[in-house]
């Protein structure tokens, strides 16, 4: 039942809530070392040996004054928890979506909250090693650390999908228009100077009535699919089978497609269905492939 009424007023109000916060001597020292030395410092409780960052002048558990016990921390650390901020409001430091993480700096016992960049949202995980990236311009605040980003940095090569990442139904293709020069170059590469590919007068006498491309030429277009797209870099091809269904004429645009059809759990191999079609959607060839998907590589150095 609706409780809305036309005969009742609603008062709209707005209150200003300005405030200041005094960082104090301890908080200020932390900010000064961020600003002037790009160093993150923590405070150590000599009783329980905990190192706190952000710093606090007392250990609340031992109730000890610790404000003199500064220790240098590394600018790197481990993500102990994170959330992804997706809602937008005017006072956010960066535009959503962004990752807000708890980062336990190397040498510290308490985590620091900060932004993590340089990692796809879907790849963010607890345990990730990250390092502080300092802001170009100081604001004498915690934002003197602009953000944290993965220590590994961006891999130099985007490796393909591993066995575990591949799912039946995933597919990828590559398209190319087969030109006369492609055919002539392929003849040179393969040594196949058959006049049906190179001699128009001869070709007129064949059932095709004109020169056609070598069968292996469109077939080879599956190589960039398997090796560079699906599964992608790191794939080893074990077997490629093809049955030719129609000729490829000069100027035809061929699309080679691979689709994951079976995961062979025992061997951790993948079987893929292959098709080659032309610009008229005619099936040029079909077949199958057996591949070893890329193994997860050891993390590369930046």
């Amino acid at each position: 039942m609706s409780t809305a009424r036309e005969d009742c007023f609603t008062m709209e109000g707005k209150l200003a809530l300005p405030y200041q916060y005094f960082a104090g001597l301890t908080g200020s020292r932390f900010l000064i070392s961020l600003r002037d030395q790009k160093k993150i410092k923590g405070l150590k409780c000599n009783k329980c040996n905990k190192i706190f960052v952000p710093p606090r002048s007392t250990c609340e558990i031992c109730f000890e004054e610790i404000s003199g016990n500064w220790v240098d921390l590394k600018n790197s650390g481990t993500v102990t928890g994170f959330t992804i901020i997706r809602y937008e409001e005017p006072h956010q430091p960066v535009k959503p979506p962004y990752i807000l993480a708890l980062i336990k700096l190397d040498g510290a016992d308490t985590p620091l909250t900060h932004i993590v960049k340089g990692v796809p949202l879907s790849k963010m995980k607890v345990g990730m090693k990250v390092k502080a990236m300092f802001a170009k311009k100081s604001t004498s605040s915690i934002m003197d650390i602009d953000h944290f980003r993965p220590v590994e940095g961006k891999p130099k090569f985007e490796m393909g999908y591993t066995y575990d990442e591949l799912e039946v139904g995933m597919s990828a293709s590559f398209s190319k228009t087969i030109s006369e020069s492609d055919v002539y170059l392929f003849a040179g590469i393969s040594g196949d100077f058959n006049p049906m590919h190179l001699n128009e007068e001869f070709a007129k006498m064949t059932p095709f009535g004109t020169r056609i491309a070598h069968g292996a030429l469109p077939q080879s277009l599956i190589a960039p699919v398997l090796g560079m797209k699906l599964p992608g870099l790191g794939t080893v091809a074990l077997e490629i089978m093809a049955r030719f269904k129609a000729p490829t004429y000069f100027g035809d645009t061929i699309t080679a497609t691979g689709e994951v059809v079976e995961k062979l759990e025992k061997k951790r191999w993948v079987r893929m269905a292959l098709t080659w079609t032309n610009q008229k959607d005619e099936l040029v060839a079909e077949g199958s492939a057996l591949v070893i998907p890329p193994m997860p590589l050891p993390q590369q150095a930046e």
Binding site: L17, Y19, Y21, F22, A23, L25, S57, T58, E60, I61
Partner: protein, 402 residues
């Protein structure tokens, strides 16, 4: 008041009161007073069973400060509760701590009142108190010139202004003897005429010099059961009784119709049930929550149940000075220091210090056997305390009637 057991004040800590405490954040400022109170009581946090924490709601724009302040309060792993009753917060903290100990729930309770007014926006906080439908768009904040106008009406401009200014200068002379006070201006009585004219007017005859400040600061008090208090402290200040009275005043006062103030009502009740017939004789000193010199002057009459111009005479005759017959606010009062969530607690703390003999340079030169302390806030809240040097006797009549 009928209590299960007596409660003694055994430790008091105060931070320095100041307009700015940039050297400390909130938990650090609180920590200063916590350490001082523990030292005075000869205790460590291990001896504290429960911590009661309070400040004025919204004044620092910090949510649940009691939890956040754990770094400075030492409350980790202990019982705790938060009290916020506006200007009376500090006084209500004392009531809560007293109740917790008297009830038998805890043996030793620490109460913490603090405010860091410089960090917040008091008008924003106060505006929230006004009724959003009928008053929020109209209300004007915490200043009022009404009392000044009333005193001038009743006693004439010359006498009223002189008495108010003399009250103000006496308070400053007291503050000069209190190291921790915020405003210590070094005023002299011969400046009175000048200040009455030249201090900037705030509302009507309420001038800047008359009004209390905004301060940063913390007050911490430790309360103990009779047994523990005697064990830890040579001379505790005992909480004999306290009373809280409040009323929504703005819908009660119509024109010049006579009314009983919450102060007078509280005093009458408190004196009645404690057999105080002549407060000025039986009570040795008074720490009053005096937000302005005009209020301080007027409220002497209310709290001491005086009639006519007796209260003016008390000021004119120097009765309220530190060496006078009835010292009022040897600390300098609220006009000198006003960290709101602590302010009302400081009144009780300062009265207790006079009994315990720990007020140092602003200790009154006589034995204080019985002291009065008041808290004030919001729309006429009064909390009034009676503290004693001797362990309060048990009122067998009240106990047997339970």
């Amino acid at each position: 008041m009928n209590k299960n057991r007596n409660v003694g004040i055994i430790g008091i800590g105060q931070s320095v009161y100041s307009s700015h405490r940039e050297d400390v954040n909130q938990p650090e400022m609180i920590h200063e007073a916590v350490v001082e109170a523990l030292d005075q009581a000869g205790m460590t946090m291990d001896d504290i069973d429960c911590v009661v924490h309070g400040n004025m709601e919204l004044f620092e724009m910090v949510h649940q400060p009691d939890l956040w302040h754990t770094l400075g309060t030492g409350v980790f792993g202990k019982e705790s509760l938060r009290v916020t009753t506006g200007g009376t917060t500090g006084a209500t903290l004392v009531c809560a701590a007293d109740n917790l100990v008297a009830s038998g729930l805890h043996d030793v309770v620490m109460a913490i009142g603090f405010e860091k007014l410089q960090e917040g926006h008091t008008t924003g906080g106060i505006t929230n108190m006004a009724d959003p439908l009928w008053a929020r768009q109209l209300q004007t904040g915490a200043l009022t010139g009404m009392t000044a106008a009333e005193i001038i009406d009743e006693f004439g401009e010359d006498r009223a202004k002189k008495a108010s200014m003399k009250y103000r200068i006496i308070m400053d002379k007291h503050a000069m003897k209190n190291d921790k006070a915020h405003r210590r201006l070094g005023l002299e009585f011969d400046q009175a005429d000048d200040l009455m004219v030249n201090s900037p007017a705030l509302v009507g005859e309420l001038r800047m010099i008359d009004m209390c400040s905004q301060s940063d600061g913390t007050c911490v008090m430790i309360f103990a059961s009779e047994e523990k208090a005697k064990k830890f402290c040579k001379q505790p200040a005992w909480i004999k009784d306290h009373i809280t009275v409040h009323r929504e005043e703005s819908y009660y006062i119509f024109g010049d119709a006579p009314y009983t103030t919450s102060h007078r009502y509280a005093a009458r009740k408190l004196f009645e049930r404690n057999g105080v017939k002549n407060p000025r004789k039986e009570i040795d000193m008074f720490e009053m929550y005096d937000p302005s010199s005009w209020w301080g002057l007027d409220w002497l009459r209310e709290f001491l149940l005086l009639e006519g111009d007796e209260h003016l005479k008390m000021v004119e005759n120097d009765d309220i000075t530190m060496k006078g017959s009835f010292p009022v606010n040897p600390s300098g009062g609220v006009i000198a220091s006003n960290p709101i969530g602590a302010t009302a607690m400081v009144r009780v703390a300062e009265a207790a210090m006079q009994i315990m003999g720990t007020a140092g340079d602003h200790q009154v030169p006589k034995t204080v056997n019985q002291a009065l302390a008041s808290g004030f806030g919001g729309t006429m809240w009064t909390v009034l305390f009676l503290l004693t040097r001797d362990v309060p006797g048990r009122d067998e009549h009240l106990i047997s009637s339970v």
